[in-house]
Structure formats: C-alpha cells, structure tokens
C-alpha cells in the first residue's frame, strides 16, 4: 500500500485545506496510508550561514524521504501560495533535498469560487525549481471552491461530482507514483546536481 505525506499548506487553526486532507486520509484509507504534516512550527527561513537546518524541517524531510509521494493542499493568499508554505519549501530545499524526483499532487481549497487556482500554479512553479525538482503530477488540478460549504458535520465532502473528481485524481496519483518509479534514469544525476549547488563557491 502506498504511503503518502500530506502537507497542510497553512498555519491557520481553522483550515478547510486541513479538512480536505483529513477527509482524504479517511476516505482513501483502504487505498493508501496518508499522514498529515503541519508546517506551523518551522522558523522563518533566513538562509543561515552555518547551514543549520532546524530539526522540525529535517523531521519533515525524513518523512518525505520515506513516503511514496506527497500531497500538498494550499490556500491562496494574494494570488499566490501562503508565506508559511513557501517557507516550508525553502527549508526543504536548503542543504536537504527530499523533494527531488518525489511525486507530488497539488490540491487546494478556498472560501471563494476560484479554489486556489493561482496559488496552485504558483506552487507548481516553486516545486519545479532546481533545488526542489519534484515530480508534480501533470495536467491535474483539484480546485475546491466555496470550501466552507463543501463538507458536512462529519468532515465528508458532500458534492458527489467533486468527490468523483478527487477519487479519480487520487487514483491517478497512485498510478503516477508507480510510473514515476520507472522514470529513474536521471535520478542519480538529479541528486548529484542538487547536491552540487554550492552557493558559497559561486
């Protein structure tokens, strides 16, 4: 059974993105194990000269290392991903590289009707950068608009169409994870390239 890490892309106490991931964890329990990870406790990234990565970041990196893939659920602030999520990804690409070649599924929920469309595009761009170089599932978007109305009291996604879409995408993601495992010819080179990025020697 696949094991996934699900990153809650916010530090807010109340978050429909968290609700969405919790729902997936429960709903797809027969298909995969999903562990939710919070990013609230990471300090502000400040590119420390001593290259010290906080323990909270290495702990997340280890979880990602051991997982078959990562699901990220992002809110949208100011037409982009939240600072706290960008911050987590900065730490997770600073002298540690858990995302290299790791399959990633991006989803998002918003109160309004757009469902984080721009934040997801932004997040794709970030995850595609050389120090992260994740394997983002292509041509797939799960945009959950009007998210405050999307769940019932038990945290179940009520809209059947949305649920069918999410189920389809999640099943696709599992296939994508298997396919990605075969796209392995450049893994070693990618890993080396990332490790060789030496900011000091430039």
């Amino acid at each position: 059974m696949h094991k996934f890490i699900a990153i809650v892309g916010t530090n807010s106490d109340e978050s429909t993105n968290r609700t969405l991931l919790q729902f997936m964890q429960k709903h797809f329990a027969a298909q995969a194990t999903i562990e939710l990870v919070e990013i609230k406790d990471l300090p502000m990234f400040n590119k420390p000269e001593n290259k010290q990565v906080p323990a909270a970041a290495t702990a997340i990196a280890e979880k990602i290392d051991q997982a078959d893939g990562v699901i990220i659920s992002t809110p949208e602030y100011d037409h982009s991903a939240p600072a706290v999520l960008m911050n987590a990804l900065e730490w997770l690409s600073f002298h540690i590289h858990p995302f290299v070649d790791k399959p990633v599924m991006i989803i998002g929920a918003s109160y309004g009707s757009l469902g984080t469309s721009r934040a997801q595009a932004h997040l794709r761009q970030i995850l595609d950068s050389p120090e992260l170089r994740a394997r983002i599932m292509p041509s797939s978007e799960f945009l959950l608009g009007h998210s405050l109305q999307a769940f019932d009291a038990d945290g179940n996604l009520v809209d059947e169409q949305k649920l069918a879409k999410l189920t389809g995408l999640f099943t696709d993601f599992q296939t994508f994870v298997d396919i990605t495992a075969e796209l392995n010819h450049a893994n070693e080179a990618n890993r080396k390239e990332v490790q060789n990025v030496n900011w000091d020697k430039l």
Binding site: M44, S93, S129
Partner: protein
C-alpha cells in the same frame, strides 16, 4: 521625494539589502530612501492576528507616509522569499498600506537570472486586490551574479549598470508623481461626467429602441428605415451599396468597432465569431451602452480614456493586449473621430495583430530585430501572463484597464552589447485583467 526600501530577505547577509543601501546613498540627491527592516515581522498566521504588533505597524506607518516603495527581492525556488511574502500578507490582511502606492521592483541574485521569476511573481502578488499596489511597468532591474557586482566599498562596479539604475530610478520618480497625482484629490474630475450608460443622446441616437436588446440592430434598422442590401450610399469619396460597404469593412485586416459620441456601441465589422476574435464581440452586443461592455471596476479607466479623446487631450490612445502568447502582438487603438467642424463624433476602435507586419517587414528587407543598446526600454520580450479570472470583460480588450505591456529591460549591466537574433519567440503578452 520620500521613498522607503524593503529588502525581501531576513538573512544576515543580503545582497538585496546591499543594493538598496547603494541606491539610498548613491542617488541621495535624487531621492530620500529609508530602508525598512522586516527582520522582526512574524510569520503570517490568520488565526494569530499580529497586525497591531510593533513590527507590522512600523512598516505600515512608514509605507503610508512615503511617496513610494522600492522592493528588492531575492529569488528562492523561482519565487520571492517567504519572509517577504509574509510581510505582504500582513499588509493585506486587516490593513492595506500598499493600496494605491507606487512600487518599484528591483532584485539581485547569485546566478545570472537576477531574480527574474521572483520579480514577475512579486508583480502578480502586489497587484492582487488585497494588496492593490501600483507597480511601475517595465524597467526591470535584474542584477545577476551579484557576488561579483559590488566593490569593497559596496559600490556597484559596472558603470552601465549604475547608469541604467539611475535612469530607472528617475523614471520611478516621475511615476510616483503621476500615480500620486492620480490618487490625490482630483483637480480635474470632469471625466466622471462620461456616462457609459448612454442615458443622453446625440443627433444620431436612435430613440425608442432598447439599447440592451439582442436584436437592437434589427429594431433600429426598422425604425430608421435604414438602407440595406443593394441600396446605394454616398460617401466621401465614393458611392457604394450597403453590401459593398460590408464587403469592404468585413475584409479589413483588423477588428473595427464604432462607439458613438453618446458612448453607445453601435457597430463592429462582424466577420468572425466571438471566439475567433482578438477582442470578442457578439452580434447581440451591438447597440449596447458601453457600460455593458466592460467590467464594473474598469469603468473609471474607460471613462478617462473616452474623456481624453472627447476633449482632445489625445486623438489616439493605444495599448497592447495582454496574454496572447508569443505568436501575437495584439494592439488596441482608440482613435477619436470628428466631423468637419472638429466636433467629437465617437471612437473608432481598431484591434490588430502587428507581429505579422513586423515579421514581413524584417523578412523582406533582410533584417533582424536587434536590441538597441541605447534604448530606454527593450521592447523585445514579454511580461507576465496573468490569469484573467471572474467575468472576463465581455467586449474584452475594449476596456482600457488592461495594463500596458511591461517591456523587459536587460539589466544594463551584464547585457550583451552585440545585436542579437530576433527574439520573436520571447514576445509574450502582458499582464491581463485581474480581479
């Protein structure tokens, strides 16, 4: 002029802070730049509101009091830093000090990109409704290979870079004045009298027909007993049948729209379906008041443009249309029309893709596009293609609210002085409508 500078880094050592310091000292005769510290701003958290904290309030007050803001952004993972994004989130949550504020973006990076992608992202973020800043278009100052850029005294080494930065800063000073005049108490707000609902009438207005009706054209034609088909019309200079006029106008290599002096949209050369048009129009729209053809928030801009044309401040207003990819460079022209006495008769709006013309000219004269080393703005290369969401402007480009394309400026510094191959592939649209 009082500016504040924000370096988008909380690292102990920041070349972007260094760049701001250089701007502050080297150009102190032009501008007064105070560098603001974002070190103490906490990570944004909507469930732990720290809007009233000293660090956030300090920034808010300083920004509000300043005439403009310069942001120097690093690039991390193809985007701006979380630290900078967090600051912007606080400044767009419960308070909005950047609203209407002129902003200039600069950036420095270790590698040669010079924060190009972070700058585009930052523009998009600053233009979102909660932030609502007014970012100076064009004039990108990208400082690549920054570790080599400064001398021991923290001065930029390259004279061309310094001169480009000076030029950019001088433009920003003008930009700040213009924007703040626009935002200030309106000295002349006569443009507000432009009634886009077309309540008034001009001598040609066809009364008694509902302007909103989908069959306005048919109703208006019946009401006026309009010439049609093979009826002859005497023109200056010629005589054509209505059919011939249609052949003629429909074969024009551009999209034509007639908006009359009453701000009513009364004609377009209907030779394509809306989906195939550069600026979509549908047959049912003919006859509509111009207010129907623009999103509400664009109305003031449209009013201003129309008023400039009506009052003769300009006879031609033009702007490129964003978001059309590298293979097109679509221009919107708004040409004032006048009768023989010079009285304003409306707007001839024409839309065309000028890239084929440019390409043809180059191909047939054996020339290529080359960067002009002396150019103030490098017209080649594009800008951000931002998503247009929510209710796209139904008569699309007709809105004057599209932000004119932001030409990419090579950081005068490391730019290759030799002419380069035409970079038509890199031409792309500019920022689009954004809610």
């Amino acid at each position: 002029m009082k500016l504040v500078g924000i370096a988008g880094s909380v690292a102990d050592k920041s070349y972007n802070r260094l760049l701001l310091k250089f701007i502050a000292t080297h150009f102190s005769d032009t501008v007064d730049v105070e560098i603001l510290d974002i070190q103490d701003v906490p990570m944004f958290n909507q469930s732990d509101d720290q809007t009233d904290s000293d660090a956030v309030q300090y920034l808010s007050h300083k920004i509000k009091q300043a005439d403009g803001v310069i942001i120097a952004t690093p690039e991390h993972n193809h985007t701006i830093t979380a630290a900078l994004k967090s600051v912007i989130e606080w400044l767009s949550f419960k308070i909005h000090p950047l609203s209407g504020k002129p902003v200039m973006i600069v950036g420095a990076s270790y590698y040669d990109q010079g924060s190009s992608r972070a700058q585009l992202n930052l523009r998009q973020i600053l233009e979102s409704p909660g932030v609502d800043a007014i970012v100076m278009p064009g004039n990108e100052f990208l400082l690549g290979e920054v570790k080599e850029a400064f001398d021991d005294q923290h001065n930029l080494k390259d004279a061309r870079t310094v001169s480009f930065l000076k030029e950019t800063l001088e433009k920003f000073v003008k930009f700040v004045k213009v924007i703040n005049t626009m935002n200030g108490p309106a000295e002349d707000d006569s443009w507000k009298s432009e009634d886009l609902e077309a309540h008034g009438k001009v001598e040609t207005t066809i009364e008694g027909v509902n302007m909103h009706a989908a069959d306005w054209v048919e109703q208006a034609a019946a009401k006026t007993n309009a010439a049609t088909g093979d009826d002859y019309v005497k023109l200056d200079r010629g005589v054509l049948t209505v059919n011939q006029l249609n052949y003629f106008l429909n074969s024009m290599p551009m999209e034509l729209t007639y908006a009359d002096a009453n701000n009513q949209f009364i004609y377009y050369n209907h030779n394509a379906e809306a989906k195939d048009m550069m600026a979509a129009r549908t047959p049912a729209q003919a006859g509509n008041p111009m207010a129907d053809c623009h999103p509400k928030r664009a109305i003031p801009h449209v009013q201003q443009v129309i008023h400039m044309l009506r009052t003769g401040k300009t006879d031609l207003f033009k702007l490129p249309v964003p978001g059309n990819g590298p293979e097109k460079y679509i221009m919107h022209y708004y040409q004032a029309m006048h009768d023989a006495k010079g009285d304003y008769k409306g707007i001839n709006e024409f839309v065309l893709d000028i890239l084929p013309i440019v390409k043809y000219y180059l191909a047939h004269t054996g020339q290529v596009l080359a960067k002009d080393p002396n150019a103030k703005a490098d017209a080649i290369s594009g800008a951000s293609a931002k998503s247009a969401d929510t209710k796209p402007d139904s008569v699309s480009g007709a809105s004057a609210d599209a932000v004119p394309e932001q030409p990419d400026e090579v950081s005068g510094a490391s730019a290759d002085p030799e002419p380069v191959e035409p970079e038509v592939d890199s031409i792309s649209g500019a920022s689009g409508n954004d809610n």
